[in-house]
Amino acid sequence: MNAIAQPINPARLVARQQKVLQDADWVRWSLIAIAVGFIGLFICLPLGLVIFQAFSKGIAAYWSALSQADTLAAIKLTLLTALVTVPLNTVFGVAAAWAITRFEFRGKSLLTTLIDLPFSVSPVISGLIFVLLFGAQGWFGEWLSAHDVKIIFAVPGIILATLFITFPFVARQLIPLMQEMGNQEEEAALSLGASGWKTFWAVTIPNIKWALLYGVLLCNARAMGEFGAVSVVSGHIRGLTNTLPLHVEVSYNDYDVVGAFAGASILAGLAIVTLILKTVLEWRQANR
């Protein structure tokens, strides 16, 4: 149905290719071995090492590393950032997808391209944009310091940078799906007397909900894990402007191996949970 948003269904892929791909057994097995070996070496092994290192001095050391005030502050800041950015970007993503797929307007293709911008520039540059705008020497720097508003090297900057980095996720999930569905169901609802608002909740949302959740999930994972852009605007003030990824780096640079890997293990855990939820959502999308 939704050709682009639909995730890969391995069973279907194989079914289609079986007749074409009749390679010799050794080719098949060595390709599988290469793929599995690669994933094992570069993904599973490092992930295992993170867990191993985190617990290398025992569970007690792990817990004490996690319950340090700085670590807790970093976790809190990460959660706060996600809590602010994910809902905003969900609303933004739905609005952008709606505008792009339902209306004709000038500059539509430009908007479509701009949505992808955060994906195509280096996160460091994304961070620098905000420094240029709001930093002490930036465009609004003077005005901001005159009014005693701190954005750079403070929480608002971190949130802004994260907002910028994560805004494509939801829109990118929805646009192809909504394009492919067309707006006939919505028109039908309107012709039956439903208001625009009712149509949105009763017809649009149920049709896009799995893709929407999927986008929100990816957006959340990135919001919690973003390093580059946040690093530029954060200032690395322990206990104040360090998100979890920054905290990991700072701890590591201080030779606090257990602290660094304890933080990393939380991020790794988040990644695993995300993967599991992602699989569940993909399954739901494929088996509506």
Partner: protein
């Protein structure tokens, strides 16, 4: 509800989709909007429904100007070409939708809704499918559910965009008759779009022929067939033989029984059933050759080849009842006499 369209025009960019449409549809009619693909039928239907806004012109329903009313306030039932059923709702919920979204004051109770939905599903003879999802239905079933859904809100006008377009030939035939009967029972003013002239003639009480965004002719099916207003309508409705006076010699038509008077026009259009063929008599000019024939049910279509005085050959098609043709005992290659009973002249 009667429908009155005055001076409706619509452009998409520089392309004129509708050009100054004036149309009046009396209450209770079943009207076919007929025209070739891309001539603006869907656009006109959407403008009547309020799904699209015209660049110019007014839409009056029951004499009231509704041009600036939203689609949700026009009281129009719209059946989309591809049905547009709500894919995440059961058949029952699809039909109930229009009732459930009514403002709280007007909203019927759940029992009333259930009763009404089942009555509608029985009307379209699909009550047994009430808990299915749209993707578990056949095309014809979806079509009827879409119709039931549109009828649930008791619209005063029903608009159907190519209602049979995506269906098998046999299902189409059944549904045509069914729609006609349904309209007879409900008597709600209805417009349906089609590009199939046979369908329009069979189902509608009035036919509106559209081409390149203009209305070519409006009238009862028989009228349009017997008295086409112009060459386009004559060609589009039914089959016709076209004789061009510049290429054909006028003598030939004279001999066939059609007096040629130039002021009538340059083209003579002749319906196949207005061509009579007979065994050549001894003293006649046998001026066509029987090439081939095909069976069209009770009729037979005969392909004749005519040799013009300029040496060009052209095919002429005639139709006559099967038994009449059999009595002539003709074979392929025979010379036959040809007589034209009636022709329409166009410039």
């Amino acid at each position: 509800m009667s429908i009155l369209l005055s001076n409706i025009s619509k452009k998409f960019g520089t392309f004129t989709a509708l050009d100054n449409i004036n149309l009046e549809i009396p209450e209770g009619e079943l009207v076919a909007l007929l025209g070739p693909s891309g001539c603006g039928k869907t656009t006109l239907l959407r403008i009547i429904a309020g799904l699209e806004s015209a660049d110019q012109g007014r839409v009056l329903l029951s004499g009231q100007d509704r041009t600036d009313h939203d689609v949700s306030q026009r009281g129009i039932g719209f059946v989309f070409q591809h049905y547009a059923l709500f894919r995440h709702m059961t058949v029952f919920e699809n039909v109930a939708f229009g009732l459930r979204v009514k403002p709280r004051r007007e909203r019927p109770s759940n029992e009333v809704i259930a009763k009404k939905v089942h009555a509608l599903l029985e009307l379209v003879q699909l009550d047994w499918l009430h808990d299915r999802y749209p993707d578990q239905l056949s095309g014809g079933q979806r079509q009827r559910i879409a119709l039931a859904r549109a009828l649930a809100v008791e619209p005063s006008v029903l608009l159907l965009d190519e209602p049979f377009g995506a269906l098998d030939a046999s299902v189409r035939k059944d549904l045509r008759q069914w729609l006609r009967n349904l309209h007879h029972d409900l008597n709600v003013t209805s417009i349906f779009v089609t590009h199939d002239q046979e369908e329009a003639m069979e189902v509608a009480s009035q036919v509106v022929v559209l081409n390149h965004g203009r209305i070519e002719q409006q009238g009862a099916p028989g009228d349009i067939y017997d008295n086409p207003a112009n060459a386009f309508v004559s060609r589009f409705i039914g089959h016709t033989n076209v004789f061009d006076l510049d290429e054909q010699d006028a003598d030939w038509l004279q001999t066939a029984g059609i007096p040629v008077a130039h002021q009538q026009g340059k083209f003579a259009h002749v319906r196949p059933h207005d061509i009579v063929i007979e065994k050549p008599t001894a003293d006649s000019d046998a001026f066509v050759t029987l090439k081939d024939w095909q069976h069209l049910g009770s009729l037979i279509r005969i392909e004749l080849v005519k040799n013009g005085s300029n040496g060009l050959t052209a095919s002429v098609y005639a139709e006559m009842p099967n038994d009449q043709f059999r009595r002539l005992h003709l074979n392929r290659g025979d010379k036959v006499d040809l007589r034209i009973r009636h022709a329409h002249w166009f410039h």
